[in-house]
């Protein structure tokens, strides 16, 4: 009896383990070789911090990283504000076409968005640079924030707002004291999602970036064109770390934790 139950579960553990290895070995290799004391990603020679040292002396990479951060922060902020408003509007007016319009870009292929944004910027004579990248990132992040906010709203007891009005709150007070605090986890989750999407976006950024506005993913790509240097490993490791921290924070916030 016990054996027949044990067999499939062992098999499942093995299969599951393989999937995780498949997913994480490439990442582990990158992290590992970022500490390898050799110019080649071939064999382990010894531990070193020198690639990180070199990284922090590489002006191009630092500049690109700074660009990425600025773009991610500004576009996440803008997308959070606009996305929250969009989420509220979708919930309030309950129009199918409205949600389709806001959420559509989520399903759209990045390459299509990239090309069409490039065409639009050229059409309206927008100089490609930080501004165009931020506009592009805001446009594809709004949908994600709206989705997070709207799903939080539809899980909210509608009588809470009515109760607030009933007990003497004006519509604005009810929004500020009841709706907004209850939406906060959704808004924060949406904002963090926008930040992570923005900081590692390549395709759309590739089409909308101009001279001097290279972001970290673009910079890494241009370095890799020659060879995957240990420096690339180091910068990838750092990028991974930042994303990981944010994702962890996100998963802590987004479950229905209401209190602060």
């Amino acid at each position: 009896m016990a054996r027949s139950n044990a067999y499939p579960s062992k098999f499942l553990i093995a299969a599951g383990g393989m999937v995780y290895l498949f997913l994480y070995i490439p990442l582990a290799v990158v992290v590992l070789f970022s500490f390898n004391d050799s110019k080649l990603n071939a064999e382990w020679v010894g531990f070193t911090w020198k690639w990180y040292d070199k990284l922090f002396q590489n002006g191009d990479i630092l500049h690109a990283a700074a660009n990425s951060l600025i773009i991610a922060v500004i576009s996440a902020l803008l997308a959070t504000i606009l996305g929250t408003l969009a989420g509220l509007a979708i919930y309030r007016f309950r129009q199918k076409w409205l949600s389709a319009l806001v959420l559509g870009p989520i399903a759209m292929p990045d390459i299509l968005i990239g090309v069409s944004l490039l065409l639009m910027f050229i059409l309206f004579n927008v100089t490609l640079g930080m501004t165009s990248i931020i506009l592009a990132h805001v446009s594809f992040c709004i949908g994600f924030v709206a989705l997070a906010v709207q799903s939080r709203l539809s899980g909210m007891d509608q009588s809470l707002v009515e109760a607030a009005r009933d007990l003497g709150a004006t519509p604005f007070q009810a929004f500020r004291l009841i709706t907004l605090p209850l939406l906060k986890p959704g808004i924060i989750a949406g904002g963090m999602m926008a930040f992570t999407l923005s900081i590692d976006d390549f395709v759309i950024t590739f089409f909308t970036a101009g001279v001097g506005s290279s972001t970290l993913p673009l910079e890494i790509y241009s370095m890799v064109k020659i060879a995957v240097t240990p420096e690339v490993n180091a910068v990838s490791t750092l990028l991974m770390l930042v994303t990981l921290v944010l994702i962890t924070a996100l998963s802590r916030i987004s479950p229905t934790v209401l209190r602060n």
Partner: protein
């Protein structure tokens, strides 16, 4: 001196109020008055318009026609926050991100009362609902009954003119519900605020209310005290909706001042008391409403002059412990429900299905409706 003879002014007057949602008429020219200090219940099946009426009073919805007056002043132009009326919601609607004390303080904060006064009032009302140690708890840490009491405390803390309660006990289990019913009655008596209570549970309505408005399909079927509603229903709907009731279709045969003679097809003629509200003429169709507990049932029955007697046989029976409900088939095939208290000492002798029995009732036991 003129005022002494006038009827006391109603707290709330609903005058010819109609509300339509597309083609659906939720309320059709509804009028009623609610007096100060009353425990008034809107009772009816789902979709009868009772919740719509409550939402109109609270201000969450607007009337299509008619007027709602509070202390003689029109309410319809006021937003919910401008009305001195609070609601206890079916879901309680406690704010999950605020503590119990913050929830109760909410309506006080909206009126710009000084913080120390607010704290005092919150503490007082928490004493009133006997939950003084729950001030710092969050709503999801409370039991259903506790949430219920906090919701009521929050709605009462700044003494509204009117408290609306929307099926507030429906989420509680039967035992707790009975306990909360007694608490509600006492609370209402103590604070003297007018309660307007919405429910589909006729037992709850009978137990709690001073007066009940029975609603059906957007209109009011009858407004009366619970005992009047139960014993003298105005129409078939009320008779059928409140408690268990036999409805015997009949035709009026003769009319005297206090008594009528009616004929029930296949059963014969019998005398019934006249209904002072309705003028019946010979030939009118009517229905005799007869409560199961007003029917006598035995193998052999001696009857008095003012009783009517029929024979039948037991069609079905339900043993409920304290009482047994018998479904008796009469000569014309009509099924009639009779209830017998199992109050004899020892194990009560029951009839079996198929047994021949006699049933009888007083001529004034039934109530005649149109």
């Amino acid at each position: 001196m003129q005022t002494a003879t006038e009827a006391p002014q109603a707290v709330l007057e609903i005058i010819d109020v109609s509300r339509r949602f597309g083609d659906f008429v939720a309320l059709d020219k509804v009028s009623l008055n609610i007096q100060a200090g009353e425990f008034f219940t809107l009772l009816g099946p789902s979709g009868c318009g009772k919740t719509t009426l409550l939402r109109l009073i609270a201000g969450f919805d607007q009337v299509d026609e008619g007027e709602i007056l509070l202390d003689g002043k029109p309410l319809t132009a006021l937003n919910p926050e401008q009305r001195p009326i609070h609601t206890v919601f079916q879901s309680y609607a406690l704010f999950p991100h605020m503590t119990v004390a913050e929830n109760i303080a909410f309506p006080l904060r909206m009126t710009k009362i000084a913080k120390p006064v607010i704290d005092l009032m919150v503490r007082e009302i928490l004493e009133d609902v006997r939950l003084p140690d729950k001030a710092k708890h969050y709503p999801d840490e409370l039991s259903g009954g506790q949430k219920q009491r906090i919701a009521i405390a929050r709605a009462l803390v700044n003494r509204p003119r009117l408290l609306l309660l929307d099926e507030p006990l429906s989420a509680l289990d039967a035992k707790l519900r009975e306990q909360m019913q007694i608490e509600l009655i006492n609370l209402q008596k103590e604070i003297g605020i007018t309660f307007v209570y919405v429910t589909h549970d006729q037992g709850e309505a009978l137990a709690l209310s001073h007066r009940i408005a029975v609603m059906n399909k957007g209109t009011i079927s009858q407004i009366d005290e619970p005992s009047v509603l139960y014993s003298c229903p105005d129409n078939r709907f009320v008779a059928d909706f409140i408690g268990q009731c036999n409805l015997l279709d009949a035709t009026v045969v003769s009319v005297a001042e206090k008594q009528l003679r009616i004929a029930i097809a296949g059963l014969g003629e019998l005398d019934v008391c006249a209904n002072p509200e309705i003028d019946f003429a010979v030939g009118d169709t009517c229905a005799l409403t007869l409560r199961p507990e007003k029917i006598r049932l035995a193998a052999q029955l001696d009857i008095t002059d003012d009783e009517v007697l029929f024979s039948g046989k037991v069609h079905d029976m339900l043993y409920l412990g304290d009482v047994t409900v018998y479904i008796i088939e009469l000569a014309n095939g009509v099924l009639i429900e009779a209830m017998l208290a199992n109050d004899a000492p020892g194990r009560t002798r029951l009839f079996d299905t198929g047994d021949a029995v006699k049933i009888a009732w007083h001529t004034d036991a039934g109530h005649l409706v149109a």
